[in-house]
């Protein structure tokens, strides 16, 4: 934290020029640039997406500052989006400063979710940069007395082609001023063949600061006079408070206040360790409620789902199934899982008088304004949310909730309050990735093609973002004594429910569990990894039953050239040997290890990235342990913006997917989540990573960029299951594939 005067690079109209608080974000190679600005911002709502000045400011010193609604969640989008802007504007990416996710300063580009930052956010920024380029060319044309067609731009300098002496920098053209121009959408866009920055592996701008401790995470925000808050949590949000003895902590050193609103109980103390101690010491008795739902979770899903929705249908699957001589049926299960960010959620709130500023690693700064305002009983235009990067989020973790905690506590004590969730807070209170139950049935006809395919799945909501109803935040739920499900996203659980295979008789039906006593929301990929686990495992089961090579079986039902290209690329890379995949695993294991190889293919969300994967595993039948040795991925997400950033994302997806598949499940007892530390919720360790992840990127310069933040997760769980089947003849149908489950599957396969 430091202060700085307003600079010419700032958005002059929007800012008071009094001393302005700066959250010192990232280092830029050429020194500090225009940064986010403090409480004295005149503007009360987000700037309009239609105005060019909302997106981009050019200073007299030629510095370019971009105001992006999409935010850096650790995936590298702040670098990729810089490349997109740099390309259209013809400046070096290092020249661009970045302000992101500020509900007052940046355009509302929607939440940073669903791998949409480059696809949707990038498209908006591209148009804005092209508009700015066109405006700058027109200004230079007038000043240099030369037609636009005879001008060229090189790294922020407009010159007359063939006469380098006639030149003007961006700063000289518009520096410190406004464009006063709307985004027409008609400014010419560069042809991909002319790209100089997009398509190249530009190093991520914030990594040097991240590896030297200089990057400002929300956990590192310190405001003058800031104190520390912790929330004393009941076993569950709907527990009743039987008694509380505030005197048990009143005399502890540093305690400023015990804050109580309904069953929301917080302590605020001068120092962090004092707040931690006071929260532990506060004597409270809760009447908890039995959490009956988890005893027979999947049966409970079926009993609670009262509606169904046909996601997709073709032909007559029911009668095709009835007339099939040997129909195959299989049930698959996926557990509740956590985002499990390494840094538990954290926020700093400064609520004084009728103004609130909240520093949060939320995925939607603009969208968090209304819930916070409702929680505080303030109008929305009194609340400002400033995105500050957190620990990788992978979806809707505790970031929004901890912001509510901090806001309530700050309002109570009239000082800036930082709330750092504990590991237990995060594991027990973040919205969980939903469990899913699948019942599949199908058959293969005499022609070796799939003649029938039915899918039925049961799952709670995969999207429950906070709304104007404050009980959609944990703090508001504790105040009220009940939880409300936030903004319901019905499509989430259905992502990739229907495959992209051309099937003559298919019926895909979802059974939403609309009310369930576990709070769930979006976890990376939403329903896609789970649906793809069921679909791609079942595809393998059908191939095996018919004695058809698994890749061949899939190819028979695909015609999209891009789908076939990723499948062929990964098969070639792996040296795939076609096989009749009927289980025949009588051979002796070598050194107690059986080796197997599995395949899976998914087109993410049916219209986005194409991903095919081959996974090699070692299975130890005696212990049931599974080790993923090697993963090969072929990936087509259209035009590639940053190939190295893309590889980083794919590697991350693969490793996280192995972890989710082999190890992860939330555990409960009769009242609460019990997997509240890393022993209870283990994730993949270094000793368990693959020997190699080989990635083939298929660039499509003439196709739009689609997302890559989630896609490569989806085929991995089924590819592992299919590899275990190849190694042992045993089919594991329930995630996680723990040694117990694998041994159980091995026993079942021998019956």
């Amino acid at each position: 934290m430091s202060t700085s005067p307003t600079s010419t690079r700032s958005r002059r109209e929007f800012l008071a020029d009094a001393g302005i608080l700066i959250v010192g974000f990232t280092l830029f190679p050429r020194g500090a640039r225009a940064e986010s600005l403090g409480q004295a911002v005149g503007q009360l709502t987000a700037p309009s997406a239609d105005a060019l000045d909302s997106w981009l400011v050019i200073g007299r010193d030629d510095a370019v500052t971009v105001y992006a609604g999409k935010v850096e969640l650790g995936t590298g989008v702040s670098t990729a989006l810089r490349q997109v802007v740099a390309e259209e504007l013809d400046v070096a990416p290092s020249r661009i400063a970045w302000v992101q996710g500020d509900s007052r300063l940046t355009v509302d580009q929607g939440r940073t979710v669903g791998s949409g930052s480059v696809k949707r956010g990038g498209a908006q920024l591209r148009r804005a940069a092209a508009e700015a380029r066109q405006a700058l060319l027109e200004m230079a044309s007038a000043k240099l007395n030369a037609p636009v067609a005879e001008l060229e731009i090189n790294d922020g300098v407009v010159s007359v082609t063939g006469d380098a002496s006639r030149r003007l920098t961006f700063g000289a053209l518009v520096g410190g001023g406004r464009f006063e121009r709307s985004i027409s959408g008609r400014a010419p866009l560069k042809a991909p063949s002319a790209y100089k920055t997009v398509g190249h592996p530009v190093p991520r701008v914030e990594i040097p600061a991240k590896v030297t401790g200089k990057h400002t995470y929300v956990h590192d925000v310190r405001l003058p006079g800031m104190v520390h808050g912790r929330v004393v949590r009941p076993p569950r949000a709907d527990a009743t408070l039987q008694s509380i003895d505030e005197s048990s902590v009143a005399k502890l050193p540093g305690v400023i206040r015990v804050v109580r609103k309904g069953t929301f109980i917080g302590v605020v103390a001068e120092r962090e360790e004092q707040a931690v101690r006071a929260a532990k010491a506060l004597n409270a008795k809760w009447g908890a409620l039995l959490l009956r739902a988890t005893a027979d979770l999947y049966a409970r899903f079926k009993s609670l789902a009262t509606t169904e929705r046909v996601v997709g249908e073709n032909g007559d699957a029911a009668s095709a199934l009835r007339s099939a001589p040997r129909p195959i049926r299989a049930t698959y299960r996926w557990p509740f899982q956590l985002h499990a960010s390494i840094g538990p959620s954290c926020a700093v709130a400064d609520v004084r008088g009728n103004v609130a500023t909240v520093y949060s690693s939320t995925q939607g700064a603009h969208q968090l304004v209304a819930p916070i305002a409702a929680l505080l009983g303030m109008p929305s235009d009194s609340v400002r949310v400033v995105f500050t990067e957190g620990s990788g989020c992978y979806g809707h973790n505790g970031a929004d909730d901890v912001a509510g905690d901090a806001a309530l506590l700050s309002q109570a004590v009239g000082r800036p309050v930082r709330v750092q969730w504990s590991r237990e807070d995060e594991n027990a209170w973040e919205p969980e990735g939903p469990a899913m139950l699948f019942e599949m049935a199908g058959a293969v006809g005499a022609d070796g093609k799939i003649s029938a395919w039915t899918y039925d799945a049961w799952t709670p909501t995969h999207g429950a973002r906070p709304t104007r109803d404050p009980t959609t935040l944990v703090a508001g739920a504790l105040v009220a004594g009940f939880v409300s499900v936030g903004e319901f996203f019905s499509g989430g659980g259905e992502r990739n429910a229907r495959t992209t295979y051309v099937l003559p008789n298919e019926r895909v039906t979802s059974h939403p569990v609309s009310s369930f006593p576990i709070r769930t929301s979006s976890l990376r990929g939403l329903g896609s990894p789970q649906n793809s686990f069921a679909n791609e495992s079942f595809m393998d089961e059908l191939a095996a039953a018919a004695g058809v090579d698994p890749i061949q079986m899939r190819r028979r039902h695909l015609s999209d050239a891009r789908a076939l290209a990723v499948i062929d690329a990964v098969a070639t890379r792996a040296g795939w040997t076609p096989r009749a995949s009927a289980p025949d695993r009588a051979g002796e294991a070598s050194n107690g290890v059986r080796k197997g190889r599995g395949f899976a293919y998914v087109q993410y969300d049916r219209t986005e990235a194409y991903v095919a994967a081959v996974v090699d595993v070692d299975v130890r039948p005696d212990t049931g342990t599974v080790r993923v040795r090697r993963v090969r991925v072929a990936h087509d997400c259209g035009l590639i913006v940053n190939p190295d950033g893309l590889r980083n994302q794919i590697e991350g997806n693969v490793v996280q997917a192995i972890s989710r598949t082999l190890k992860e499940a939330v555990r409960f007892d009769s009242t609460r989540v019990t997997s509240v530390d890393w022993n209870g919720y283990p994730i993949l360790r270094f000793s368990e990573i693959p020997d190699a992840i080989d990635i083939d990127l298929i660039d499509q310069p003439d196709q739009p960029s689609v997302g890559a933040g989630e896609a490569a997760t989806s085929p991995i769980p089924a590819a592992i299951a299919n590899a275990i089947f190849d190694a042992t003849g045993a089919r594991v149908r329930q995630v996680p594939f723990t040694p117990d489950r694998v041994r159980e599957a091995l026993r079942a396969s021998k019956v």
């Binding site: 995470y217 004597n283 620990s391 990788g392 409300s484 890393w678 360790r685 990573i689």
Partner: protein, 182 residues
């Protein structure tokens, strides 16, 4: 409102009593600091909140994830479960003590070269632990690296790059740990 059960169970929290604050002299990145803290205050909070050293991160407070790792007399330690009183008179080095963006330690440079971070929250612990490894074992095998790093958790799945960065630093002769310890 969701459908909850009805049976009540009583849950009670437990209390611990504080000790008085005392002055503790600690040496961090080569500089002596006198801090006033209860002796059992986690070193992590002192480094972050008193000395504004943001390299070490709070991850679990349980010594399970490694995000808070620092060196104490050259040995990697979990600062979230290390009492400040336990490091009095000892040499503490944090990520900031290894290097800065304009003069990174060879291991930090290797992490930049390999682009070995996504969110980067765990990276403090990764670099501090790897620095201690390279100080002990100049040319570790891949198994040495996996074994040394096994105690540290990463959620983004950056493991492959982290291993490559450590191998790169080792190949470049980055042994000799750490900034001012060197």
């Amino acid at each position: 409102m969701t459908a909850f059960g009805h049976d009540h169970i009583s849950v009670e929290t437990t209390a611990t009593m504080p000790q008085p604050r005392t002055a503790v002299r600690i040496r961090v990145n080569g500089v002596d600091h006198d801090v006033s803290a209860e002796p059992d205050t986690p070193l992590l909070y002192v480094l972050r909140n008193e000395l504004s050293l943001n390299g070490p991160k709070f991850g679990c407070g349980l010594g399970q994830c490694g995000a808070c790792t620092v060196h104490v007399d050259g040995t990697p330690r979990r600062s979230c479960v290390t009492a400040v009183s336990a490091v009095a008179g000892k040499d503490v080095v944090t990520l900031e003590g290894l290097g800065a963006p304009d003069r990174p330690h060879p291991l930090q440079q290797a992490f930049i070269d390999e682009q070995a971070a996504q969110c980067g929250y765990c990276i403090n612990g990764m670099i501090m632990r790897a620095a201690a490894l390279l100080a002990r074992t100049a040319r570790p095998s891949r198994d040495d690296i996996l074994s040394a790093m096994d105690a540290n958790l990463c959620r983004c799945g950056t493991h492959m790059r982290i291993v490559r960065a450590i191998e790169r630093a080792a190949a470049a002769g980055a042994a000799g740990p750490a900034g001012r310890e060197r």
